[in-house]
């Protein structure tokens, strides 16, 4: 196989993997927008908060320890135990459910019927508030994230040797695929199947879809709007946790994790704000598009670092021809 073709295939495959990671973030946005029409600016911070909470619980860190020590003059930082990853994930999910309940009770319940821009501004406030709470609760230092099923069976990182050796034997060039990306792809696939199945086949899922279609009609047949919104924010919190784990495993858990939301925006523009499969397909197109553009044009002719703007340009291009995104619902307002 010609070397350039092998490189292109490798870039294509890595683009797909990167796209899955973008889609993981985009999924959270889609869930909330679909059910409530709210563009949740805080989704990136939710991923940060979830990942910090997970690491904090795993390490037995005392939440708000700096605050407690400052007020009471104590010197407590750790409970002195460590929690198994599985258990820590379960506890973190409970924390995210509690957060969803509080967000609904203290913020959005009071904003029902408000203009979308008001709801959007509320999520901006929520993002900064949550970032501050995360800082106060768990501190701002960078934390290593190790999610392990058992001793020595942690999230894998680094080149997949099987793919490297197999492709080397077949094509004379070993492809690089990160083990973590493979795991992320499997997790994303399970997550999407699970979410779609939940929406299609469960009572709560159908109620969620009913609220998404017409919340007043759903209310009239006895669906609790409050419950559905808590459910949706909880699901978005769970998706944020998964995204936080995958991204946090790459870079450590730190405040810049909230910026992963920037990677999700072009995915949403392209895939549509209301479609779960759209988030996945959008993620894949953006991932492959930006990586191929960087490889074929950006690095050789434009000095590189084209991925950030190219993703948005690609999304804009789609918007021109299909404003609702690839899988979004067309909005028709009759006068």
């Amino acid at each position: 196989m010609p070397e350039q073709l092998a490189f292109t295939i490798e870039v294509f495959l890595n683009g797909l993997m990167a796209g899955v990671l973008y889609a993981l973030v985009a999924l959270g946005f889609v869930l909330i927008y679909k059910a409530s029409g709210i563009f949740n600016y805080a989704q990136g911070v939710m991923a940060l908060f979830a990942a910090m909470t997970l690491v904090g619980i795993q390490n037995g860190q005392v939440p708000f320890s700096h605050l407690i020590n400052a007020i009471f003059g104590t010197d407590v930082h750790s409970f002195g135990w460590s929690v198994h990853s599985g258990l820590a994930i379960v506890f973190t999910v409970f924390v995210m459910i509690a957060l969803a309940w509080m967000v609904q009770k203290f913020v959005f319940r009071h904003l029902v019927g408000q203009e979308p821009i008001i709801l959007f501004m509320a999520t901006i406030g929520l993002a900064y508030f949550l970032e501050g709470v995360a800082d106060l609760m768990w501190g701002s230092e960078i934390k290593s994230l190790n999610v392990c099923a058992a001793e020595g069976a942690c999230l894998p990182q680094g080149i997949n040797m099987w793919i490297d050796e197999t492709t080397f034997t077949a094509f004379g060039y070993g492809f690089f695929i990160d083990n973590l990306d493979i795991v992320a792809s499997i997790v994303a696939a399970i997550l999407v199947i699970g979410l779609v199945a939940f929406a299609q086949y469960t009572k709560q899922g159908r109620a969620m879809r009913a609220v998404a279609d017409d919340h007043q009609a759903a209310l009239s047949v006895g669906v609790s709007l409050n419950f559905i919104w808590v459910l949706v924010w909880s699901l978005a919190g769970f998706v944020a946790l998964v995204a936080g784990i995958m991204w946090g495993a790459k870079s450590g858990v730190q405040f810049s994790l909230s910026l992963i939301a920037l990677k999700a925006l072009p995915v949403l523009m392209l895939g549509g704000f209301t479609s779960i499969p759209g988030a996945i397909v959008g993620g894949l197109i953006i991932g492959v598009g930006e990586k191929l553009f960087e490889f074929l044009i950006g690095a050789p002719f434009l000095g590189g670092a084209t991925e950030n703007w190219f993703a948005y340009m690609l999304a804009l291009l789609f918007l021109v021809f299909r404003p609702q995104g690839l899988f979004g619902e067309k909005i028709i307002e009759r006068v």
Binding site: E141, I159, G304, A305
Partner: protein, 427 residues
Amino acid sequence: MKMKLATMAVAGLMVAGPVMADLVFPSLSYRTGPYAAGGIPFADGYADYFTLLNERDGGIGGEKLQVPECETAYNTEKGVECYESLKGTGGLVYQPLSTGITYQLIPKVTADDIPMLTSGLGRTSAKNGKVFSHVFNFPANYWDGASVAVKHMLDEEGGDLKGKKISLVYHNSAYGKEPIRTLQELSKKHGFELTEVPVDHPGQEQKSQWLQIRRDKPDYVIMYGWGVMNQVAIQEAANIRFPMDKFIGIWWSGSENDVLPAGAAADGYKALTFHNVGSDYPLYDDLKTHVYDAGKSAGAGDQSGTVLYNRGMYAAMLVSEAAKTAQEIHGVSAITPGQMRDGMEALNITEAKMAALGLPNFGPEFQVSCDNHGGNGFAAMTQWDATAKEWKLISDFVQSDQDIIQPLIDEDSTAYATENSIEPTCK
């Protein structure tokens, strides 16, 4: 009631604002946002050193010290706002810890007659004090770092880099682009092939860049990164099994924050430094007695001995010594920012002075002058030991290639002077 409120307001102001007779060293810190993990240890080290001087020595020359902090979040606009808001406190010297903020403040500090110290960052050609009268960047700058990295490679390759490939992975910003010209000149001199690999802010996703490096198979990679870019780059380098001892970061890519997330995979990674590492210095005994044990540590008090804490402490030490020099020159203890500038321009750091301060072998010797606001360009190499979880100094402090760097500084500073109608002169 009104009287009570007025009294409380006045009392509040007295508590909140620094006493005007004190020497004020404002801290443009960033304890929040994506770069907080780097900003916190520096700010803590900076504050703790001044606390030590207050507690142990009663300040500098009998004058108590104040360190008002302003949160910039590593945001240039906020940094400028902080400068403007703290200017009224009589701040003697500013240290922005951000190249973006530095660029914005250069004309402002010059107009306001307030010095600014940008150790290891900012505008490199500010070393020329005839053009940049109020900006100091001792003891080393970005170009020194690039040159010392190449010198290290020369040492490893038996003095010959002909035909070798070096990739520069850099933060795609004014900061990250700083070493490009120097490395281009060095590549001409030493015959190595230079590839530039930019990474956009914040650098959370670098797959394209590291696939390119895997294809190019460079002999060495130099990194000019900051924040999350560093951690991701080190992890990606480990993923493609790039040899860590051939991967060299600038000093802003060489803290514990950068290597710990990658765990054992980061073992052997190298980074430049312009000061020593660890806490095995007599000064730390004093810090323990007068600051830590007295419950007067800045922040959470958990950064002591880290690379960036040491850097903040070192920066505070340098400006404290400059303040002492200014007091000696002008014969007054309550110096003004203008007098502080004079002290910085006359600063002489010797090993004897460092040892007396409790920091023997901590940093290079240098003498500042009007011609030279940047020191002598000495830097050393450190290496990460993932097992011991500590940085180790693995070289002496080595001077950069002045034959390459000085002409570049002259050229860039002259261009700045022409653009801004500055007549190069000594004050």
